[in-house]
Structure formats: structure tokens, C-alpha cells
């Protein structure tokens, strides 16, 4: 459905997109995961032909995307990172206005507006102006304006920023429902939990480059980390740390502020082996956590830095 090939975008000497390549299939919920400033929004703006780019090729629905590709634009819905609605118009007027930019028939428009209002749960706020809405409701209005015309492709650029957990869950459920109704979704976020929860395929992006692409499982299987064990312990000497480091499957160890953090490759009984070692060497310990790898681990291993940094 979308093909981005060798996309390069420079701002002076700064390279925002560095030969970015992406392929998105129809029916996917495709996640673009990366820290702030990694190039996600720039890539989306190039895809929408809002931004000029220096090099590369973008096709949408099999055709070249240009600023005046109005016939392509009618099948695309966009939910901007920043809320983009008219402050002076009510909730219903805003949704109706943005629907009207895509749909001319008045009756059809009314039907679509009613559906979008139901879908986003804004029935009780129709006559309110955006200023009176809470952050979560405002985001829902922003989404309603972007999806009201039932597009084939919906691009959501960090739609849950500054949203309370309840609204966030509702938004994420809504995105899955839109996908079930037939829309292909491109979802950008720096929240790995969200991406993991809803995306069928994910591209990890940093410094304008796609570092890895695949399903959550595929991405996790690409890395060495199979388990991360965290143990609270009062004092560990260099000898004890060396001993732990030499245990099977341990490939990374940090000890800071009385917290021992071990990264181990995937194997059975990793935790038991570690705890046995501590007992055998009379090392007192407190709480113990064992975690399976996350997308943050994937990002960490690929880039050497935390996604949250």
C-alpha cells in the first residue's frame, strides 16, 4: 500500500531522514517507534507531501504522492501530533467541517459525523468548544476529525501524548476497531507499550534510519537478551561480581545504587542459577525481578541507548 524508498531529508547540514525505507501492507497496524527527534513526524510529513524532500521515492496506493494528489488524499485520514481543530467552533461543527473537506454530500456527511461522534464517545460534548474539553476529550475530537470520512489509510502521529490512561486505552481500542473495519493504520509513538499493544508490525527508527522492522516477536528474537534480572542487594565486591559475570548466559552486568542488573541470553533456569550463587556466597538480597525482553531492550541493544532517553 505504501512504499518509501531511500528517502532523504536534510535541514541544512542536519540529516533528518537518512535513506529511509519502508513498506506497509494493506490491513496492517504499522508502528513507527523511535525517540523524540528520530524522524517519525518528518517521515509522515514527507509521506503526506507536506514536506519537500531531497531524495527518494514515495508511492501511496501504488501511485506517486504529490502535493496536488487530491484523488489520493481523499482516501487518507490524518491525526496530527498537535491537536488541529478550530477553537471557535463546537465539537460537532469541527467534525462536520473536516468531514466536509472530504465528503460533499450533505446526507452522507451527517451520517459519517454521527458515526464518528459515537465512535469517539463525544455524544455528551457536541455543543462544547475545544477550550472546555479535557486533554483526553480533546485528543478524541482530534481523532474524530481525522477519521470521520472513513479513509482507507489512517496516519496517527503520537495521538496519545499527554492523555490520561483511561482515555489512552479508549483511543487504542478505537484504533484496533478502525483496523477491524478495514482501515490500514500507521501509528507513530515513542511509547513502546502502546506500539507493542496494537501494532501488527513495527519499524524502529532512529537518526532518520529504519534500524529494524518486524512483528514484536521478530524484533525481540533479533536481540541477544532473553531475560533481564534485577536484584536489590546491599554490598557486592569485585570478586562476587566477577563470579556472577562468569555464570552461564550472563552477557551484561551493571551494579549501581545497590541494584544488580543482569542481562542474559534466552535459556532455562537463569533465575535459579543466579539465586543459588547468591546463597552459596552468603550474599544478602531483597527484591528480585525477572523480565522478558521488551522493545526497549531491542532499541537498547541496537542503538546502545534507552528508548526513553
Amino acid at each position: 500500500m505504501i512504499h518509501i524508498e531511500n528517502l532523504v531529508k536534510r535541514y541544512g547540514s542536519f540529516v533528518a531522514l537518512d535513506h529511509l525505507n519502508l513498506d506497509i501492507q494493506e490491513g496492517e497496524v504499522f508502528g513507527l517507534l523511535g525517540p523524540n527527534g528520530s524522524g517519525k513526524t518528518t517521515a509522515i510529513n514527507c509521506l503526506l507531501a507536506l514536506l519537500k524532500y531531497d531524495k527518494g521515492n514515495i508511492t501511496v496506493f501504488g501511485r506517486q504522492m504529490h502535493p496536488d494528489s487530491y484523488d489520493l488524499k481523499k482516501d487518507i485520514g490524518v491525526v496530527m501530533q498537535n491537536v488541529a481543530v478550530f477553537e471557535q467552533m463546537t465539537v460537532r461543527e469541527n467534525i462536520d467541517y473536516f468531514c466536509g473537506l472530504y465528503v460533499r454530500d450533505r446526507n452522507e456527511r451527517q451520517k459519517l459525523v454521527d458515526e464518528a461522534i459515537r465512535f469517539t464517545g463525544l455524544e455528551d460534548y457536541l455543543k462544547m468548544r475545544p477550550k472546555k474539553l479535557s486533554g483526553g476529550l480533546l485528543r478524541r475530537l482530534n481523532i474524530a476529525c481525522g477519521i470521520v470520512h472513513k479513509p482507507r489509510l489512517i496516519i496517527m502521529d503520537e495521538p496519545t501524548v499527554a492523555v490520561d490512561p483511561q482515555s489512552r486505552n479508549r483511543i487504542l481500542e478505537g484504533i484496533l476497531e478502525l483496523n477491524r473495519q478495514g482501515s490500514t493504520i500507521i501509528y507513530t509513538s515513542h511509547y513502546m507499550e502502546e506500539v507493542e499493544q496494537i501494532c501488527s508490525r513495527i519499524a524502529i527508527i532512529d537518526h532518520g534510519q529504519v534500524l529494524a522492522t518486524g512483528t514484536t516477536e521478530e524484533l525481540k528474537s533479533m536481540i541477544k537478551t532473553g531475560e533481564t534480572i534485577t536484584i536489590e542487594t546491599i554490598h557486592l565486591g569485585e570478586n562476587e561480581l566477577d563470579g556472577i559475570r562468569k555464570l552461564p548466559h550472563v552477557f551484561d552486568l551493571t551494579y549501581e545504587d545497590q541494584v544488580l542488573k543482569l542481562r542474559l541470553s534466552s535459556a532455562k533456569h537463569n533465575l535459579i542459577r543466579i539465586l543459588n550463587y547468591l546463597q552459596e556466597h552468603d550474599i544478602a538480597f531483597g527484591r528480585v525481578f525477572s523480565e522478558l525482553p521488551t522493545l526497549n531492550d531491542v532499541f537498547l541493544e541496537i542503538t546502545g541507548k534507552e528508548l526513553r532517553d
Partner: protein, 379 residues
């Protein structure tokens, strides 16, 4: 198209801060002007002053000049000049001391005037005497040199008086304060820039998320831009008409009788104001608040140069650097209003309209080129 028109209209008129600058502020300013100038302005637009009162002392003189002056004063007495013929000289001097009269005319071979102080009334009495003396001297000279042309001289004098009277009153008003109201309407026209700046922000993807969202829809950018401009010009035109009605009907300031021409200038002013804002809004990437702040200067500076704060400013510029008055849209607008209200000068009026038209076209092209872009180097 109607759908786009309707929502843009609603959105704009609900934008309180923008409508304040575009409509409420000029109305408030007009009200302040009205109260500042006090009773100097009345419903006809003519400046009024109390009738000038004077006493006439006829000295025992049967000279030709004394008789002529006696007749002249009889004719001059009326609405403007109220003369008392029955007072003695002592009584007249006492009334002059008490301020009950402004001056005393002495009817004699060489007519004279006594006044108590300097002022407008005193100037009028002096002017009347000077006028008489000049005309009498003229007639005397003609009588001595070309007595056969005396009848024509009287006729010419009569014509001169008529012409003078017509030219002075032809523009319906003598009130110098009315120029402040013309400058105010001109300023109000330019304050359409606030509407233009605001709208340009909602149109360009590199300036606002709303601009970006509108840019990714299948509605042609040209259609959006033209709808916006049409709505803004219409709204601002209504604003200016409201201001005109307020000034002429509520404050009672006459803006002239040529209603179609007045409406035409209002329309041209609305176009130029909105285009100015759109052009300014689309050529830079400053924040909205910064642009709105600068728009205050963008409208007030031309207003100031057109005489909004200091009535004689436009005349000073005309004297020293007239090109500024030709290039300053507020001055051109003010001049167009002046042509309607004061001069009845259609040639000058047409020139003003042509200048406004040319400026509007230039600003429209600049604005359109600025907001029609669909793809940006950075967002």
C-alpha cells in the same frame, strides 16, 4: 463552497480578539474622539459657535462711506452677527467690559472697530470690517478710473461672494475635526489585517497544525484560499459599514451624501486591509502572537501618518514628502473620504480609488503566492 463559506464565517466572527481589533476598537476610538471634541461637532457636521454680538455706534457723520458702512452692517446682521443699534457709546463700552458683546463698530467716514480681547468672535468682526474696507476701496478705485464699468464691478463682486460661499460649503462641512473620523475609518479598514493574519495562520502547514490538516485534505488549496479571502473581506466590509453607521447615525458626524461612493471606498478599504494581513501573515514564520502584535503597528503607523492621532500630520507630509501620502493606504483612504465629505473632488477621488485598486492587486498577489504553497521546506 457554501459549506466552507459558512464555517469560515462562523469561525471568524467568533474569534473575539480579532473582532475586537477589527470592529470594537475603531468604534471605541470613534466614541473617544467624539467626546474629546465635545460640542464642536453637531449633527450636520458643521462647526458651531455662538452668534457674535456687537454694538454699532453711529457718529454724526453723513459721509458717503459712513452711509455705505451703515448699509453693509444692516445686510451683514443675521444668524452669524447680531448687532445692537440702540446703545450709547458708554453703554456699549460697559457691555464690552462685561463680555456681553464682542466688539463695537463705529460708523463714520473711516469705519473702525473696538474689541476687548483676542478670540474667534473678535477675528470674525475684524474680518467683516476688513472685507468691507477692501471692497469699498475697490469700488472707489473703479469709480474714479473706470466709472462706466461700475455696474460690472458690482456684479463681479456679487459673483465672487456667491462663488466663495458655494466653494466653502460645497463639501457640506467646515469642521476640521471630521478629518479625525476619516482617518479613523481609514485605520479601521486597515485593521482588516488582523483578520488576514489570523486566517493565513490557519492556511499554511508550516505555521499551524490546523494549516497542516487543511493541507492534507482533497479540497483544492486554491478553493480554500479564495473562500477565506471572500469571507474575510465580506466580514470586514460589514465591520466598516457598521462603523460608518455608528459614526454617522449614532455620533451624528456627516460623512457626505454620496452613499454609493462611500460604500465603494469602504469596500476597497476592506479588501486592502484583509490582503495586507494575508500578505504579512504569509511571508514570515513568526508566532501568531508576534504577528498579531506587529499587526497593531502595521495598522496604527499608517493611521498615525494619515492623521489619526495628530490631525495635521497628513498635511505636513503632503508639504514635505507627498509620496508617502500616495503610498500610505490609510492616507489614500482618508483622502478618498475627504474628497467625498469636504471637496466633492471626483478627479482626486478617482485617483485615490485607482491607487487603492493597484495596491490591493499587489497585496492580493503577494498574499496569494504566500498562502497557496502546498509543500514546504520545513514544518
Amino acid at each position: 463552497m457554501f459549506f466552507l463559506f459558512k464555517y469560515r464565517f462562523l469561525q471568524t466572527i467568533r474569534e473575539v480578539s480579532v473582532m475586537f481589533w477589527a470592529l470594537a476598537f475603531p468604534v471605541i476610538l470613534g466614541t473617544l474622539f467624539y467626546f474629546s471634541f465635545g460640542s464642536g461637532i453637531e449633527s450636520t457636521g458643521e462647526e458651531t459657535w455662538d452668534t457674535v454680538k456687537a454694538a454699532v455706534i453711529e457718529e454724526d457723520d453723513s459721509s458717503e462711506n459712513a452711509e455705505a458702512f451703515h448699509t453693509f452692517l444692516k445686510e451683514a446682521s443675521g444668524k452669524l452677527l447680531k448687532l445692537r443699534w440702540d446703545a450709547t457709546e458708554a453703554e456699549a463700552l460697559e457691555m464690552l467690559d462685561d463680555g456681553k458683546i464682542t466688539g463695537i463698530y463705529y460708523v463714520k467716514d473711516t469705519p473702525s472697530l473696538t474689541v476687548g480681547k483676542n478670540g474667534l468672535g473678535e477675528s470674525i468682526l475684524t474680518g467683516i470690517l476688513d472685507s468691507y474696507n477692501q471692497n469699498f476701496a475697490l469700488i472707489q478705485e473703479i469709480a474714479s478710473t473706470h466709472p462706466e464699468q461700475l455696474p460690472q464691478a458690482f456684479e463681479a463682486l456679487n459673483d465672487y461672494r456667491q462663488t466663495t460661499r458655494e466653494e466653502t460649503l460645497g463639501g457640506q462641512t467646515l469642521d476640521p475635526n471630521v478629518q479625525y473620523f476619516f482617518a479613523l475609518i481609514a485605520y479601521a479598514c486597515l485593521s482588516g489585517a488582523f483578520l488576514g493574519v489570523r486566517a493565513s495562520f490557519d492556511t499554511q502547514a508550516d505555521l499551524s497544525p490546523l494549516g497542516a490538516r487543511r493541507s492534507v485534505t482533497p479540497t483544492h488549496k486554491l478553493k480554500l484560499v479564495i473562500t477565506d479571502m471572500t469571507v474575510l473581506v465580506l466580514i470586514h466590509f460589514i465591520n466598516i459599514l457598521i462603523l460608518n453607521v455608528y459614526i454617522s447615525q449614532v455620533l451624528g458626524i456627516s460623512l457626505g451624501d454620496d452613499l454609493p461612493s462611500l460604500i465603494l471606498v469602504d469596500f476597497m478599504g476592506s479588501v486592502i486591509g484583509v490582503c495586507m494581513g494575508l500578505a504579512f501573515g504569509s511571508i514570515s514564520k513568526m508566532s501568531l502572537s508576534m504577528k498579531m502584535g506587529l499587526s497593531v503597528a502595521l495598522t496604527l503607523v499608517p493611521g498615525f501618518l494619515a492623521g489619526l492621532m495628530f490631525g495635521n500630520m497628513k498635511n505636513l507630509i503632503e508639504l514635505h514628502c507627498p509620496v508617502i501620502n500616495r503610498l500610505n493606504p490609510a492616507a489614500v483612504l482618508s483622502d478618498a473620504f475627504y474628497c467625498l465629505g469636504i471637496y466633492n473632488d471626483m478627479e482626486r477621488f478617482t485617483r485615490c480609488l485607482l491607487i487603492l485598486g493597484a495596491m490591493s492587486i499587489l497585496l492580493f498577489i503577494t498574499a496569494f503566492l504566500g498562502v497557496r504553497r502546498e509543500s514546504y521546506d520545513s514544518i
